[in-house]
């Protein structure tokens, strides 16, 4: 074959192969976010139970697990057990906060009464905080380090392993 034709074919095929190689190496379920490594957006939201405003700034000084969830989200029901158990086990060292997205206060209160509660749940009625965090859907969980920087984010149902991994990242201990 003509060497020039071969060179042109290689020049066209090479970028396509590079893109394919990079894309195939990625986790198809992973939603990339620019928020990891940035300061966690400050927010002020009302507590579902008390109605009192809770700010992220008031929780700084220790790692914070910010979990976006809703009562109508099935994976959220499943991960609730993990989060409650985690909050009870790590309550002194790690602060857990639930941000309820696109939901009604009454439904949230009923849910928490039936399924237990170990940390404050805050109502994000119009999704302002979810947008500030770049949330695609629920459940999504952000792990904020004591300096207020987002150390990790998990999309989808949080398993105990993922929770431990996220907390490790937030406290700066990546090795198991």
């Amino acid at each position: 074959m003509n060497p020039r034709v071969l060179m042109i074919a290689a020049a066209v095929a090479a970028p396509v192969l590079v893109v394919l190689a990079v894309s195939l190496g990625r986790n198809p379920h992973e939603i990339r976010t620019p928020m990891v490594g940035r300061s966690a957006p400050a927010f002020s939201l009302p507590d579902v139970d008390t109605g009192e405003e809770v700010t992220l700034a008031s929780l700084r000084g220790r790692p914070v697990v910010v979990n976006f969830w809703a009562t109508w989200c099935f994976p959220c029901l499943e991960e609730h057990k993990t989060l409650v158990a985690g909050a009870r086990a790590l309550g002194d060292e790690v602060q857990f906060v639930g941000v309820v997205y696109d939901d009604r206060q009454r439904a949230v209160r009923d849910f928490l009464r039936q399924r237990g509660q170990a940390y404050p749940s805050l109502l994000d009625e119009d999704g302002q905080v979810a947008i500030a965090y770049g949330v695609y859907g629920v459940p999504e969980t952000f792990f904020v380090n004591p300096e207020g920087v987002i150390a990790a984010k998990y999309t989808g149902m949080l398993t105990p392993e993922r929770l431990v991994d996220g907390v490790r990242r937030a406290i700066g201990r990546n090795a198991p």
């Binding site: 990339r32 976010t33 620019p34 928020m35 957006p41 400050a42 927010f43 002020s44 939201l45 696109d102 994000d124 119009d126 999704g127 302002q128 905080v129 979810a130 947008i131 500030a132 965090y133 770049g134 949330v135 695609y136 859907g137």
Partner: protein, 206 residues
């Protein structure tokens, strides 16, 4: 069945009640029915820390409605397939549309609103990528490939004549010469008597 009766509240004068009803009706009728108005909302996040203070004028009414549509049409709905925030009925898109409207009402410029969403979601949230950095390739590559293709086709056309000129001396492989009459007969039909086995009159198609 117990009849339902409306009872007048004790101590309330009829004329006073009618006056109140009239004022309420007047107020309802004077509320503009077209356009989008700035809604009173409690700011839950600190937008200024991301894109600075609002650099434009506060918007309301039809101007706000037009600008909301323009900006929301440039944002991608994160949970949809190729739909803009303006076009999508998804709850996330509706929230984003409301956020766009609220920010424009507060005086943020289109650029600031787009940057705010890009800060959270990355450049993915822009339906049309920026023409800077790696995004330049998205805009320039199709044009470069089109121009390159035209040049290649043009050069191939100029270099390769489609017809062998009449009288050209075409060498024939002696080993294949015996098959030439049969091929010619298949291609052009029964060979005419007296035709040469070397070249056909007027040349041949390649």
């Amino acid at each position: 069945m117990i009849p339902v009766r409306f009872r007048r509240a004790p101590g309330v004068d009829t004329r006073f009640a009618m006056c109140g009803a009239w004022l309420t009706l007047t107020a309802l009728l004077t509320v503009p029915t077209t356009g989008v108005d700035a809604q009173v909302r409690v700011a839950r996040v600190d937008v200024e820390s991301v894109v600075g203070v609002p650099a434009g004028a506060r918007l309301a009414g039809d101007a706000l409605s037009v600008r909301t549509k323009a900006v929301a049409s440039r944002l991608r709905c994160p949970v949809c397939q190729g739909l803009s925030v303006w076009d999508s009925p998804a709850a996330m898109a509706v929230n984003m549309k409301n956020e766009v409207q609220a920010l424009l009402a507060e005086g943020y410029l289109d650029r600031q609103v787009l940057e705010y969403f890009e800060h959270s979601y990355g450049e993915f949230v822009r339906l049309a990528p920026r023409a800077t950095g790696i995004g330049v390739l998205v805009w320039s590559l199709p044009m470069v490939m089109l121009v390159g293709g035209v040049i290649i086709v043009f050069r191939m056309h100029v270099r390769r004549p489609s017809v062998i000129p009449a009288g050209a001396n075409v060498a024939i492989d002696p080993g294949l010469e015996a098959y030439l009459p049969a091929v010619r007969e298949l291609a052009y039909g029964k060979e005419e008597p007296g035709s040469s086995s070397a070249t056909s009159p007027g040349g041949r198609q390649r």
